[in-house]
Symmetry: C2
DNA sequence: TGTGAATAATTGTACTATACAACTATTGAT
DNA sequence: ATCAATAGTTGTATAGTACAATTATTCACA
């Protein structure tokens, strides 16, 4: 049925097929575990996951407005309104009017918020450090750059709906 | 203030610190993008994300019961009840009584469910294949094994609450 | 063989997370 | 001056989820 050339190609395909499967399973587990970790961490500290993400983003952004935060977290602005409502109420952030544009609000961390932010950053960084330490030093560069290229593809491809008829292959050629 | 030895150590620390940061950021992006991808894919096909996960798990498990599904998806059994309710209603799965144990239910895919499952598997596998193809062939082994060890640590460490006082370092020694 | 603990699933309730549409207030372009 | 664009809020709806209480069944064992 198949020529020898096809046959060889199929062996190669099988290998990459298995690698793709491994990647799929591992990223699935990774995502799930990170989300559980995130949830645990947030719930330990009296804030919800979404609140925690918002605090961290506000802490990182030099100028945060609800709209910028919405774009960064990829949330609807109404969602951000309610999220920041709760954070203001719980004393993590301040919401002040922008004197230059009275439509705009400026979000910033309170002292409590900053403490939370810094503790979270330290804790997360320490945790990821403990993860990277498990990878042999010589492999780290390859690992990180490979992961980086996968993330890059995912970020680029995020626009399109990934439906069953268009399996995305070859859509991310442009640099 | 610091001796030379400490100084050298700090240079090394800085490097690993940066690597840890890269890992943190990339896994964060990875998780977010995968979840967006998942959501798109599910919503394209008229099922919700949770439904999609359930269909895929039922398709993979040879014997599925609500309890097993709950354990696999790490959901509460009540959540699984409602999830399977909707899937039965939409014709993706069958829910039959186990003749051996009348407390138990057996979940299986209908023809429609199986078609969905297979299309999803093919599509996902194709997509991950397109991802793995972007990584130089010689790096794939290192990449996958590194990713594997990180996932392994995450899976092992999932029991404990990751709070701000116990940064998890050195908790995952046992093989 | 009867009883109580364990197990499987469901229902009631509540909450987080989220989006979309409609709205108000403000700014900016012409 | 007016009208489109922008920033944010509110009303409403839904997915996703958990926990506690409940029902039905099985199982261990005395």
């Amino acid at each position: 049925m198949y020529s020898t050339i096809i046959h060889i190609k199929e062996v190669v395909d099988l290998k990459i097929h298995e690698q793709a499967w491994e990647l799929r399973e591992m990223t699935r587990k990774l995502a799930r575990n990170l989300s559980l970790l995130d949830r645990d961490r947030a719930s330990c500290c009296g804030v919800t996951l979404a609140q925690c993400h918002a605090i961290v983003e506000i802490g990182r952004l030099s100028e945060a407005t609800p709209s910028i935060l919405a774009a960064t977290l990829r949330l609807d602005r109404s969602t951000v309104t309610r999220l920041t409502d709760s954070l203001v109420e719980q004393g993590y952030i301040l919401r002040a009017q922008d004197p230059g544009d009275r439509r705009s609000l400026t979000l910033s961390l309170t002292e409590k918020g900053r403490r939370f932010f810094e503790a979270t950053e330290d804790s997360m960084n320490g945790f990821f450090r403990s993860l990277i330490e498990r990878i042999p030093e010589n492999d780290r560069k390859i690992f990180l750059s490979s992961l980086g290229s996968i993330v890059e593809i995912l970020e680029k491809g995020k626009c399109g709906c990934f439906d069953l008829d268009t399996p995305l292959t070859g859509q991310t050629e442009g640099g």
